[in-house]
Each structure stands twice: as C-alpha cells, then as structure tokens.
Symmetry: C2
Subunit: 687 residues, 2 copies
C-alpha cells in the first residue's frame, strides 16, 4: 500500500502544488510592488525573531522566579520541595497559560507542502517570486500532527529541538557531576558503584522492559492500544527510565550532611548510571533484527547491540580520558597558570571539545564529558592556578545550575505545550509498578551480593534509602524527548514526564522524613570524615575500638582499587601533574632521561615528604593497611548523639596519607582537615 501511495504521490503533489501556484498567481496578480513584499518578508522575519525573544524571555522569567523562590525556601529552611520541583511547578503554570491563554496564530505563518525527491534533504532552496530562500531540515512530523503544528505558533516557539538538551543542556550538568565528584568516597566504594551502575541498570532496564511488554500485551487485549508497540520499544523505555537522577535527594543530603558513604553510593550510581542508560538506549535502537518478524529474538542483532554498547561506552570513556589527559599535559608543561583567564578559557574549550570530538567520532558526547570531568578533576585541577581552580568550579557550577533548572522548568512547560502527548492510564500505572519492581530487583539482590564481598556491609537502612532515592530526572526526560516521532515513543515520553514529576515531588519531599525514619546519620561533612570537633571525641571516649578492629581490613578487598591507585600515584600523577613522587624514582633507571623530562621541578622540592607518603600508598610493606582516616556508619537521626567507628593507624601514617588524599580533594580544605585530623587522632594504632 505504501508502495502504491508513493507511486501516486508525485501526481498528488503536482496537483497540490498547482493549486498553491495558482493561489500564488492570484495573489501576485493583484499585488503591490516588490519593495512592499520585501518589507512584508522582513516584517515576518522580525516578528519571528521577536517571538523567539519572547519565548526565551519566558524561560528566563521562569528561572528568575525559581531562583527567588529557592532563596525564600532556603532562607526559611523549607525542605519539602526542592528547587527542581519548584522549577517544574512554575513551568507547569506558564505552560497552562501558554496553552489556554494565547490565541492561535493568524495562519500567515502556515506551513506549506510541496513535493521533493524520495528522501528529505538537509537543505532546501525555495524559489519565491524569483528570489531564492534557504531552508534547513528541522525534523520529521507525523502526518496526523500536521494540524497541531499549524495550530499555535507560540507553543511551537517554546518547544525546543530535543537535541538542544543533548548538545547544550546536558553536557554542563554531566561535566559538573564528574568535576565535582567527591573522589575519596567515590573510589572507596568504586566496586559497589560500578556494580550498581552497570549490572543494576541492565537488570532494571530488562525487568522494566519485560514488565512493560506484559502491560502492552494487556493493553492490546483490552483494546487500549491504537498503534504498534514493539518489544524493543519496551526495552528502550526500560533504558530511558533506568537513568536515576537523585539530584533532589543529594541536595538534601548535602544540606543535612548525611552519611558520606551513602552519598557516595547514590551519587556515583546516578552519575555512571546516566552514562550507562544513554549508551544502553543507543544500543537498543541499534538492535534491528534482520528478518521480517521484529518480535523474534535475533542472536546476531543482540550481540551486535552488546558490541555497540561496549564500543560506544569504551570509546566515549577513552575520548573523555584522552582530552582530560591532554589538558593536564598542556596545563602542566606550559606556564599558563600565570594567566588564569587563558587557563580557564583553555579548560573550558578542551572540556567542550571532548563532547564534540566524541560526537564527531560517533560516540556519545555526554558520556565522554562525564569521564573528561572526572579526569580533569583528578589531574588537571592540580595543575591549575588557585584562581583558575575557583573560576572553573564556579563557571561550571553556574552553568550546571542554570541548565538543570532550565530542564526542569521545561519539563513543567512541556506537560502542556508539547503537542503530541498520549496519556494511557494502564501504561502509566504499569510503568509506576514496573519502575518500583525494577528498582527493588536491582537494589536488594545486588546489595546482598555486594555485602558478601564487602567487609563494610551496606546496611538495610541504606538499601531502603537507595530504593527510595531512585527518582528520575533530567536524563530520563532528555532521552525520552529525543525521539517522539512514533506512537509508542510519544506514549513513553508522556509517561516519563509523569514519572519524573511524581518522583521529584514525592520522593524529593519525603527525603528528610525518610532519613530520620531510617535512622541514617546526618550532620557529617561529605568532604571529609566525621567532624573533628564532635564525633572524634566521642570516639575516643566511646566503644569504637572493637568495631574499628572489625572494619580495619575493609579496604583490603579493594585490590583493584589498590592496584589502580598505586599505578596512578606512581606514574600517572607524576606525569600529568606537579604532584606525586618524581618519575626518576618510580620508573626503571633506563628511562631516566624521559623521566627527568616529564617530572616537573616542583616535585623535587617536596621529594622527601612525598617519598614518605608514597610508601604508605603503594603498600609495598603489606601489613600496613591504609584506610584514609576511615570512619563510618550507623548513628541515629539528626538529633541523637553521634557515634562513629574509627580505624586508627599510627599517627604519622595517618596524617601523611590524609594529606595526600586531601590534596586530591582540592587545596581549600586541605589545611583545615589535616590539622583537624592531627588534633583528633592522638592514639597510636599499634599501641
């Protein structure tokens, strides 16, 4: 049928155009001079430009309102609604106003149909009364929606190209996540985080996908489904909705200074999980069975998808790491730090180029940007001047803040202004159940398995909190809006939007009660171990000793991390930054010349001190366990007395290892923390 339509199409179009042409002839017949026409065109372009300005202004107004209300909330310490939830509410209100308050346009901007060859061009030249105008392809529109497109100009203006989210708004958010990663706690829980992010997301995606396929079958039975909905669509939905984004939870954690390990687990999972979900959704899109029956499982296509997943993920990872390393080398070997402006600009450009480079090579820019952020924080940050450190942090903080709030207000707006919503109650209820089950099937079994390996168990209350914090945000939205061409995708988009609303409002608001209900410790600075003024004295007085003994060997299991850490500390850091032991001491003697060239002069100044620290870190002397001032876990809610278990090394080891790690975390906290630590742990471990 499609074939016959296509055969008949040129004729149809010809007729259509003839009519259009005649109309044009009619108009030009009784018309004005060419100058007047030009003026009219100019006026139209001006009008369009004005509308663009107004739509952007709408968003700015929204953000400004959000900022002012956030301030009010922070000022009055309101915690039941997070800024992102607020942004959504304002977005909703403006969406309603735009939807029902603005008149539909006069129609002179009405789109016009004309024929073309069998594929759309990216550029179109249109001959209008002898003048040529250039048009660029914006995207496909499903045939049923043409009238909607015509309907309301203002609504169309506030509807952005979905790629804006991927190419402009997500990168700063994700980069900031990588750049502001609390590396210490992240690396301490690296194994668990990786398990949650990779295995967990895959499990969640698969479970949600299958459950939703059941729901779709049910809908077909009941007659609620009016178009195709394939199994791959369900899996794609699983991938989209598996990207957790506990931004609101983490903001509250940050504010309340909740437990650092839980913070690290949640933050690390959600950051990596976004990357996994993106790549997963691309691989599912790439899954295209070769046969006619798209429902059947095709092993070849499946393995191709897995290959695509691994390829894209590792490729993006490499891209990010490589540009990070290049930036580190450039900042190390030039004296750019004398000119903070140049340094900041370079840092910004290199980080941005990661994104473009990955996109140009066919990898995923957002994932590359994440790993670039982590690499920049780990290496380049150390080479920057003090001014550039704060500049880059602040720059990306502002960009992140604006982008995030923009996305959330856009979400609120989209509920009313997006013109292709398909809300199916069955599908929505099914989706809520599925994400609940998917999250449960991901957290509890994985935590059980991880606890088998972990010396320092993930407690039940932590597991419940993680289960609870699985809210969906910007990434799920961006993934869902990316492709809304078909019926199934539109339904998925509408459902995703509702899920994001629900989880951000309910879960965001419920975090504080949940924390106290689960007796999770608050009042800990996530940047460091328990506040020295309070907890540590309790430790000294309290019953910390035996639990300390139990926790002592916790880090021994993280052999992968230790291996990486020693490689990083001995080779990568000295090559890429001004810190670490001189390469001349760590590299074999035959590469003396290279080692000498690569080592920066600053390193030699601190050589003595560094060698001492070094011996603690590379763990050559097997029996010395380094735990980085390891203090953790279980204390009751906000008001109760804080107890903490502490692992106490010898004082010298302690303080020097502290110092090395504090340097990782940034110079600002360094002094205070290490001084604090020295003050706090006067006990000798072997005593």
């Amino acid at each position: 049928m499609a074939e016959s339509l296509r055969r008949r199409l040129p004729l149809l179009l010809l007729l259509l155009l003839a009519a259009g042409g005649l109309r044009a002839a009619e108009r030009s017949g009784g018309s004005s001079s060419s100058a007047m026409e030009e003026l009219a065109t100019e006026k139209e372009a001006e009008e369009s430009h004005r509308q663009d300005s107004v739509s952007l202004l709408t968003f700015i107004l929204l953000l400004t309102l959000t900022i002012l209300t956030i301030w009010l909330f922070k000022h009055r310490r309101v915690r039941f609604l997070h800024e992102t939830g607020l942004a959504m509410i304002y977005g909703l209100i403006v969406g309603v106003i735009l939807r029902y308050g603005t008149p539909s346009t006069s129609g002179h901007d009405k789109p016009f149909s004309c024929s073309q060859e069998d594929r759309p061009f990216t550029t179109l030249l249109v001959n209008v009364s002898g003048k040529f105008f250039e048009y660029t392809l914006k995207g496909e529109i499903s045939p049923g929606k043409i009238h909607n497109v015509e309907q309301n100009d203002m609504l169309r203006k506030v509807t952005f190209d979905p790629e804006v989210f991927f190419n402009i708004l997500l990168p700063p958010i994700i980069f900031h996540a990588g750049y502001s990663l609390k590396k210490r706690h992240f690396f301490r829980n690296l194994g668990s985080i990786l398990a949650y992010a990779f295995l967990g997301t895959a499990v969640s995606c698969f479970i949600i996908g299958n459950l939703m396929y059941g729901v779709v079958k049910l809908m077909k039975l009941v007659g609620q489904l009016s178009d195709k909905f394939y199994y791959t669509d369900c899996l794609l939905f699983g991938a989209i909705i598996s990207a957790t984004d506990p931004v609101t939870v983490l903001a509250i954690f940050n504010e309340l200074h909740a437990d650092v390990d839980l913070y690290a687990l949640l933050f690390g999972e959600s950051v990596l999980n976004d990357a996994v979900a993106i790549v997963l959704s691309s691989s599912i899109v790439a899954y295209q069975p070769t046969g006619e029956n798209t429902h059947a499982f095709d092993a070849a296509a499946f393995f191709k998808s897995v290959g695509v997943f691994l390829g894209i993920f590792s490729g993006s990872f490499m891209m990010g790491a490589v540009t990070g390393v290049v930036t580190a080398l450039v900042t190390k070997f030039t004296k750019l730090h004398c000119f903070p402006l140049l340094e900041t600009a370079l840092f910004f450009l290199m980080s941005w180029s990661t994104f473009l480079l990955a996109e140009a090579c066919g990898f995923t820019g957002v994932v590359a940007v994440l790993f670039c952020g982590i690499t920049q924080a780990h290496y380049t940050y150390n080479n920057l001047s003090v001014e550039s450190r704060s500049r880059t942090k602040q720059l990306f903080e502002v960009l992140h803040f604006l982008a995030e709030n923009f996305i959330f207000s856009y979400m609120g707006l989209a509920l009313f202004t997006f013109q292709k919503h398909i809300f199916s109650p069955v599908f929505i209820i099914g989706a809520f159940v599925a994400i609940f089950l998917g999250r449960a099937a991901h957290i509890y079994p994985l935590s059980f398995l991880l606890n088998l390996g972990r010396r320092h168990k993930i407690s039940w209350s932590f597991q419940h909190m993680m289960m609870f914090s699985g809210l969906r945000g910007a990434m799920a939205f961006a993934l869902a809006i990316r492709d809304t061409a078909t019926y199934s995708h539109q339904m998925m988009f509408s459902t995703t939007l509702l899920i994001v609303f629900f989880t951000v409002w309910i879960v965001g608001g419920g975090t504080t009660p949940m924390l106290s209900w689960l007796n999770i410790r608050v009042g800990v600075d996530p940047d460091q171990d328990p506040p020295p003024t309070n907890d540590s004295f309790q430790v000294l007085q309290g019953d910390g000793q035996d639990s300390a003994r139990r926790n002592r060997t916790k880090q021994e299991s993280a052999w992968l991390f230790r291996l990486w850490y020693s490689f990083d500390h001995n080779y990568l850091k000295p090559i890429l930054t001004h810190s670490g032991p001189p390469l001349t001491t760590t590299l074999p003697s035959w590469c003396g010349l290279i080692a000498h060239c690569l080592t920066s002069p600053q390193v030699y100044d601190n050589q003595e001190q560094l060698r001492e620290e070094d011996s603690d870190f590379i763990l050559n002397d097997g029996d010395l366990t380094v735990t980085y001032g390891d203090t953790t876990i279980t204390a009751n809610g906000s008001s109760g007395p804080h107890t903490a278990t502490t692992n106490l090394d010898s004082r010298r080891t302690k303080s020097s290892s502290e110092e090395a790690l504090e340097r990782d975390l940034g110079a600002a906290d360094h002094e205070v923390t290490s001084r604090g630590t020295r003050l706090v742990f006067p006990l000798e471990y072997n005593a």
Copy 2:
C-alpha cells in the same frame, strides 16, 4: 518584467516539479523498502550532525591554538601582534585549508527548488513519500550564488548565521565592556566621550558615506560596478565602518599602564560608538524614500530616520537601565547574597533578559546590554556578596574572551570560506582613504571644539593617538555580515573584512612604537592615580605646583556631571544599593516613611562618615573643588623619567572623596589606593 516573471513562475515551477516528481517516481519504482529509506535519512541526519560537530571543533581548535600562542607571546612579552590579530591569522590558515583542502560534496545534499506562495514562510512542511518534514527559513540567497551554495558542504557548515554574532557573541562582549568600565575616568571625561561617540560617529559616518558615494560614482564611470549601489548603501557603509573597536590598543594600554585619561577617552568612545553605529545603521536601513527615485533626498524619510535613531537609542538605553535597576533592587531587598550561586545566576539571567527584552520590544539588544552592564556595575555590584562580585566579573570575562577570539578567528576564516566575496580594488582603496579622512575629520575638529570648553586640554599627542587607534573590529564585522544579500552589501562586507585585518594587524602592532613616539606616559595603573611609590615622590620634588594650579578648576566645567553625581549619590545610590547617605536625610521630610523603607539598615551604621563625604561630593560649598586625586599627562616613553602634575586638595577632603570613589570602583583596590593616597599627598592645598 518582474511582474510578468512572477505570473509565469507558477507554471515554470510546475514544470520543474513535474520533472522532479517523475524522477522521484522512477527512483521509488525500482527501490528498496521503507526501512532502508528511513535508515538512509537517519544516516544523513547523523552525518550532518557529525559535520556540525567537526565545524565547531575546528573553531575550538582554533581558539585553543590561539590561547596557547597568546600565552607564548605574553610569556615572551611579544607586543607586535595582539591575540585578536593572532586569532585572525589562525582563522586565515584554517580558512585556506577548508577552502582548498576539502573536497566538494557528492551532491546528494543538493538543494532543491520548489514553488511557494509569494512570500517565504518561516516554516515549511515538505511531503516526502508521505512523510512530512519541517524546514525552517535560513535566509535569502542571491540567484547568482546558488551554485556556490551547492558547492561545498563543509564551507557551508563553518559559515554561521550572521544573527549568531548579534544574538550570541556580541552581547557578552558588549556587556563586559559596560561592566568593566573604569567609571571614575569615564565620568571624568563624560562630555568629551559623548561628543566623540555621538557627534564623531555621525560626522564620520556622513563623511565616509559621501566619499564612498564619490568612489562608487567613479567606479560606475570606469565601468567597475556591475550592479546597483545606492547612496543609502554608502551611508550604511559609513555607519558600519564608523564603529571603532580599539581592543588591541586598549589591551596594550592596559599592559603598559598608559595614560588613564587617554585610556578613558578611547575606551569610552569605542564602547558608546558601537552602540551609536548599530542604531545608526538601523536608522539608515529605515530610511526609505517614498518616491520612485531612491537617490533623491527625502526630508520626511530623513526625519523619520532621525526619529528612529532617537527612539531606538533611548528605548534601548531605558531597557538596559531598567533591568539594571530591577536587578539592583532585587539584590538589595532580598538576602540573596547569602547564596552566591543563586545571586550569580540571577545576575546572569537578568543581564541576558535585557537583551531579549529589548529585542522583543523592537529595540537593539546589544545597546541595551551595554547600558545594563554600566548600571549593573554602578549599582548592583555594590549589593553583591564578595564572592558573587568576583564570580560575575570572571564569568563575563571568560565569556567576553571566548566570544571575542571566536569572532576574530571567524573573521580570518570568513575571508576564504565566505562564498560571496566581491573584492573591488577601487572601492577598497577608496574605503581606506575614506576611513582615514573620516577619522581625521572627526578627531581633530572635535578635539579643537572640546578643548575650547575643557580646562584640561586634549593634547596633540593624545589626538594623534586617538586618530591612530581608530581601528575596526568585531562590531564592524558583525554589522557588515548581517546583511550580505545584495551586490553592494557583499562588496561592503569584503571591504570591511580587509579594513579590519589591516587595522588590527598594523595599528595593533604599531601601538607601542606610536606611544613612545608621541611621548605618551606609560606605567600608570588605570585603576587609580599615579603609583604612589614612584610618581608622587617626583611630584613632591618636581615642578608640579603651578600646573596643578592651572588644572585645579578643570572639573568645574562638568556641571552636568556634578548635577548627575549629586542626584545619583543622594537618591539613586541610597535607593538601589546599601551605600550612600540614608534617604531619611536626603529626601524631604514628608516622604519619611518611604525613605525609611527604602533605606537599608547598613546605611545607618556608616551615616556619620557618609555625611562627611557627601558634603564633598554635592559641592554645596562652591569653592571646594573635587578632582579625585587628579594627576595627569605628558611624560615621555617607557624608559624616561615620569613626571606628573597633581592637584592637591586638603588632606581630609582628599582622602574621604578618594574613599567614596574607590568604593565605586570595587572593593578590592580600595584599601591599597586610599592608603597609598594618604601616604603620598601630605601637602595641604591651601598651605
């Protein structure tokens, strides 16, 4: 003829389309499945996205290279080439590579002609084999250039929409110019700056326009002109090229710490001059004589243009001032300064909204942004937290730096990648002569007139330096590229490009020699008066006394400024910021309640001190001349001994007025300067 063509057009197009339709039918006849087609479309979109990434990457690479070379130059103190000149050179190189190194595209992306009604729509729906694609209007293409459009895909990709310059790149540059204005020296020379900017630009525009009209007439005689070139085009060229942009000169001034008054004159002129040139060019475009003969002078149209100029200028000014004032009020009356991130985000959004608001109202966004920047610096800056102050400064500094270097590398690139160049040697030579004469006719007579009124004359060497520094930059380029649809505009664009290249390279490189040749004092911190360590001692020993006496009453002529200053200090500052005298003292007693509400509590703390300063500033006691530590002029080149003439008030007046003004300039320098000043001027003026 055009009319008959338009009548025949639909038929022609019909034929054209029939052929296209047939071809489409042929193709689809012997073709593959719809899935394959979809895949092909997707691949094309992907390919296009990849090319976008590559083209952006090209620019990032360019900027990175520029940054590294700038560092090298700064490191080695090379001054013959400024960073912008460098960016242009790199742009040129990459332009050559792109132009001659990339293959022209395969043609499957070839644009396609189809008919439409008599005006182009902003949106076009295209039916391709039953699927609908949305296209957006990009711009008009002159008929002769269609083949060029087809030619090279990569070249088209790196060619940005000219509106990008106006809507994305210029605003941060201009805002930064306003925000970083050295207010003290700017206001001191306000009258002269306004004269240069308004009168000067108008004179320059008119002279260049007329000279160019002569050149065009000559070209027509010689037969060098192949299309129309109206008088209004010449005037437009005059307006475009009158926007001076001595960024390179000022950078060198900054580096060498050249004379502060000269700096203020040049900077102020160029900043305001950009605004004037934009509005002037819009008004010239708006000049449309109603009759058939577009060459004749039409008084009505002329006055309409003047009205447009005044309307746009004052409207944009108001917009900028209003959003600045709103931001100041918001930051004053909320405690937003407890959350620097929110504050910075708000500041950024409000500043950006100025631009959009002005554009939405039909004013000029760039001009509004300039005045917004000045207002923000004058009022809002005082309300910001210390962290936000540095954040906002740094944020806009980075944006400005990136945008500026981007524009300059784009200029280099455009020389080769822009596909509509028309280089006419006669026109180019004429233009160079015209801008030289235009600049001369603007600087020297105006300076002469100004010197009649100024107590503190603009010396010949200053005039020569201003003449020399009239180089053209980003604004001229952006104005010229805005409209390149017609033959005359294309020729103007190519010529502007060459003028920018020439002036940036030659004038930028010649600044240092010129400064020493003209014996202009260097080694002065533009933020403050002569460095206390060196100059002032020379003053104390030297022959400064009598020249001080001559310069003493210099500021008395600036009655407009004094009026404004006292109004600003007594009413605006107390309302909009936390500084100034309490409104309860300055407002009449019957508005006591309002005054009390508007005055922030902080003000009362410093009330005593402020009232003292106040009396110095409002100059009620006529005979007390405030000159803000006025020290100036004429010292020889970089190596010679510095001499300066100083105006010495009584010590108390001196230091307190110093303090008030220093507060205007930002808190950072405050301490040092006022301490320095006290140390330096131990003499009593009346002694």
